[in-house]
């Protein structure tokens, strides 16, 4: 609104303008597919973080993230105790909590993390197919791979952030708690790198496996159950086989061991597998711990790569099929 | 003729929600269109008539008897629901045979074949329902309601998803059944299709009965709505003057060669018009009521 014109006021004439009410065409510019991918990822990222969602989702999400923070705290405490009593000394490269970050990822690599993936990934992948929204997305100026890239960006972004936040807090606490924070930082730059890589590795690896399972069904419930079920089953079978056979091939059955072992080697920790000596033929023998040495890391790298590739293939196949219908 | 269906002061509540509120009417053989906006209570009313729901108060009678008390009445009744959920793992034929068996028909297989033929689905009857298109599912549901050779047929949106040729076929079939003396109630959102099947309408809104009867008569009963009539005539100005002079019209609108007039008393206007035109040497080429169709009747009554 512009101030009343002086002359017209002098002439005793009030002014009024009626603007055109009808439809306005868009005259601005159109941005490219990168913008589309980022905005898709942005919307889904917010959704995954529970922004603008109902209290049930928020509660589930924040409880799981809270537990991860507690795990980080425990890793901090355990490491502090270890250092005080000196247990780290002789078996520095043996004991997981000797490196607190390794300890954190080691403890986080389990049911809580899987639940988090099961909460987020089916929600972002299944609903679009269940409610038919996928066909609207694909009728936009993006391709199927753009759509999947947006989803991947949101999922990996949120999940690596959720994993890295406690780890980075832990790092900050250690650095600030050290006699000379600057020196601690300089001495542990390697740990910082390993930590970032581990977070990313976990996020990508589990995201692809979960994504492959989620792409098999439209139901978020089935997908979530499938993700947690498969990972738990793999771990159970893996550790049972290990307990009975004491052979390291059992570590390849447990899907979480693949990333676990890669992560340990990133932190420079040689993490052998401790299992119980269970042998039925000799019931009187006392149950003693048995230590099994894992494969060299490249074996796990290859196995993880195979799992990731297989998952990507499943996702690609399922979505291709969805589009062609 | 005694009514086939009698609805007496029927109310249906679901907890706090009143879906049908104190509705009474009676239907004789023939086709009636059940109309109303979404959420008006059409489906509830049909289910009440089909005996699938019991009224919270009031009663529904068939041939003077209560449906719930006389289960054998169900065999004289066909109902075609709106939902599209069917047993996907069966073929159309198996589904109909099963339904015919449930009706207690003597020869389920023969009844199934006959119904399939009626809806022109015989050729695809052997295929699994899972692969049926929407239009085919619709016809299968319809066939299912025809199985007992019913005297009363209640159809909830039977044309949805059908393509133009199938619609035409189903409309013809419904008309034939109506002429054969079946009492048919059909709910639909597509009013000009209802108009082709039924003169009699049952209009409900907010669970209440708004209008019942021949829709032309209903239109005429709306005194507060002047009829708009379009005339194409050789000398529109002259006709306009003649009509105004005789106070047959309350408003006149001239555009191009067309004359649109508002009339209050339809009988007086239409009664005088032919003579007026013939005697004054005018030539009428078109006479259309602009708001006489079911569409307008619905609009006037529901808004």
């Amino acid at each position: 609104m512009s101030p009343p014109d002086e002359r017209s006021e002098r002439a005793g004439q009030a002014q009024g303008v009626i603007y055109q009410q009808g439809y306005r065409h868009y005259r601005g510019r159109y941005l490219g597919r990168l913008h589309a991918v980022v905005s898709l990822a942005w919307a889904d990222g917010k959704r995954a973080l529970g922004i603008g969602r109902g209290w049930k989702y928020k509660l589930g999400f924040f409880i799981l993230v809270g537990i991860l923070l507690i795990i980080a705290l425990i890793a901090f405490g355990t490491n502090a105790v270890t250092e005080r009593i000196g247990a780290g000394g002789q078996s520095r490269s043996f004991y997981p909590f000797a490196n607190p970050y390794n300890g954190f990822f080691d403890s986080a690599n389990g049911i809580i993390l899987w639940l988090l993936f099961a909460l987020i990934i089916p929600d972002l992948l299944c609903n679009d197919r269940r409610y038919g929204t996928l066909r609207l997305y694909l009728a936009r100026p993006i391709s199927l791979s753009d759509y999947l890239a947006g989803k991947a960006l949101a999922i990996v972004g949120v999940l690596s952030a959720v994993l890295l936040a406690p780890a980075l807090l832990l790092f900050l606490a250690k650095a600030l708690g050290a006699v000379q924070p600057g020196a601690y930082l300089a001495a542990h730059l390697g740990d910082l790198g390993a930590l970032l890589l581990s977070g990313l590795l976990f996020a990508v690896y589990y995201a692809l496996i979960s994504g492959a399972l989620a792409s098999l069904t439209k139901s978020t419930g089935y997908a979530a159950a499938g993700i947690v079920g498969l990972l738990i089953a793999a771990r159970l079978v893996g550790s049972t086989v290990l307990a009975f056979t004491h052979r390291r091939m059992a570590t390849l059955i447990d899907l979480s061991q693949l990333v676990g072992q890669i992560k340990s080697s990133l932190f420079g920790v040689n993490q052998p597998l401790i299992t119980l000596n269970i042998q039925f033929q000799n019931g009187s023998q006392p149950v003693t711990p048995v230590i099994v040495q894992p494969y060299p890391v490249w074996v796990y790298l290859l196995a993880a790569l195979a799992a990731v590739l297989l998952s990507a293939l499943v996702i690609g196949w399922r979505y291709r099929r969805e589009v062609d219908r | 003729m005694s009514p086939v269906i009698e609805i007496e002061r029927v109310t249906k509540r679901y907890g706090q929600v009143v879906a049908v509120s104190d509705v009474s009417f009676a239907l004789a053989p023939g086709i009636s269109g059940l109309l109303g906006p979404n959420g008006a209570g059409k489906t509830t009313l049909l289910k009440l008539m089909a005996g699938l729901l019991t009224p919270s108060s009031g009663q529904v009678k068939f041939f003077g008897q209560k449906l719930r008390r006389h289960p054998q009445l169900y065999r004289r009744l066909g109902y075609c629901p709106e939902q599209n959920e069917l047993y996907d793992f069966m073929s159309g034929r198996e589904f109909l045979k099963l339904s015919a068996g449930l009706y207690g028909l003597a020869d389920p297989a023969q009844a199934a074949e006959k119904a399939l033929e009626q809806v022109a689905l015989s050729a695809q009857a052997g295929r699994l329902i899972r692969v049926y298109s929407r239009g085919m599912r619709q016809r299968l549901k319809f066939a299912q309601s025809l199985l007992p050779d019913p005297e009363v047929l209640l159809l909830d949106e039977p044309l949805q998803g059908a393509d133009p040729a199938q619609r035409r076929m189903l409309i013809e079939l419904i008309r034939q059944l109506g002429q054969a003396g079946v009492t048919i109630v059909i709910s639909s959102h597509v009013l000009y299709e209802v108009e082709r099947m039924a003169q009699q309408i049952i209009l409900i809104n907010h669970g209440r009965l708004i209008a019942l009867g021949d829709f032309h008569a209903i239109r005429e009963a709306m005194d507060d709505r002047p009829h708009k009539v379009l005339l194409e005539v050789s000398e529109p100005q002259r006709l306009a003057a003649l009509l105004t002079e005789r106070e047959l019209v309350s408003a006149v609108n001239l555009a191009d060669e067309q004359l649109v007039v508002d009339i209050g008393d339809a009988n007086a206007f239409y009664g005088a018009l032919p003579r007026l035109i013939a005697e004054n040497g005018l030539h009428l080429r078109r006479l259309s009521g602009l708001d006489e169709d079911l569409e307008s009747v619905f609009r006037y009554l529901v808004h």
Binding site: Y26, S39, D324 | G271
Partner: protein, 304 residues
């Protein structure tokens, strides 16, 4: 606006579209066909979502096989089936769809606001869409098709499941899109009267082929062959008067059809009505309806 040459699509073995060649000018185009005639496949091909098995198509001068993304920026699509996430508001969803079409963040919000008001969803736009009525959902679907200001919108059964007043409003809206917004549209529907109302051209598909295509007025033809009447009063006397005048009358009850549509026929009708005292409630030239055309094509198809 749309040109196709020998456009075909086969899905392992079955032929969905078989050598479709046509050329359509901007305007409002009705797409007709029986279930399974290939309408949905045709629409998907026009959007570049499917690759043609053979032949080619251009929409807005863009090749559908190679310039699909570019094309979809300028074309809006409203599918027939459910496609709205229930836990998101129409506002958020429409804006998101706008961004995916390339609108910057702010512009997308502003456009979403505009088009939601345009389609009559102004009030419910912040509510989760799962709670909207079916008519409101249809509006939300239309809004997302319009949000990026397309030059063409493809509407697949836009009035399906709507009640009479909802359908009326939707058709009005669609008419406005063409007339006031200047956006071309391709509308597929089973309700031929809907198409007759808003479309000026039609494409009729049958078994994957074009059965007829062109301006509606041309296809239906202007020539009338008879006159429809509705009467109140003594129909018997009226009928007799017409028959005596040498006209052939058929129909029953209050609705009659008189053969022929020249001036003498009209005058004879008025004369007969004046004499018999019957009330003439309707007198209309019977023009060929789209339904008749559709059914006639179908019969000739069946004979082939």
């Amino acid at each position: 606006m749309i040109q196709t040459r020998d456009l075909s699509k086969r899905y392992n073995g079955t032929v969905a579209l078989d050598g479709v060649s046509l050329q359509v000018a901007p305007g409002s185009i009705g797409l007709l066909g029986e279930n399974g005639a290939g309408k949905t496949t045709f629409i998907k091909l026009l959007l570049g979502l499917l690759q043609p098995s053979s032949g080619s198509a251009r929409v807005l001068s863009l090749d559908v096989a190679r310039q699909g993304r570019k094309l979809r920026r300028r074309v809006g699509y409203m599918p027939e089936d459910e496609c709205l996430p229930p836990d998101i508001s129409a506002m958020e969803f429409t804006a998101r769809m706008g961004r995916l079409s390339g609108l910057p963040h702010e512009a997308a919000l502003q456009r979403a606001n505009d088009v939601l008001h345009l389609v009559g969803l102004g009030e419910g736009r912040y509510r989760p869409m799962g709670g909207l009525s079916s008519g409101m959902k249809q509006r939300a679907k239309l809004a997302q098709a319009l949000v990026a200001d397309p030059e063409l919108v493809l509407l697949d059964e836009p009035t399906s499941g709507m009640d009479p007043s909802g359908r009326e409003e939707m058709l009005q809206l669609i008419g406005e899109i063409r007339e006031n917004l200047g956006i071309s549209l391709l509308l597929s529907s089973h309700l031929l009267q809907d198409i007759e109302r808003v479309c000026d051209q039609v494409i009729i598909l049958s078994a994957g082929q074009v059965a007829a295509q062109g301006p509606l007025s041309q296809l239906l033809g202007q020539a009338a062959r008879s006159v429809h009447l509705r009467l109140v009063g003594d129909v018997q006397a009226f009928r007799q008067a017409l028959t005596q005048a040498g006209l052939s009358v058929h129909g029953s009850g209050m609705q009659l059809t008189v053969e022929g549509a020249d001036d003498q026929v009209y005058d004879a009708i008025i004369e007969a009505a004046a004499q018999s005292g019957v009330q003439l409630r309707r007198l209309e030239r019977a023009s060929r309806s789209l339904e008749e055309l559709f059914l006639a094509l179908r019969k000739s198809e069946a004979r082939r």
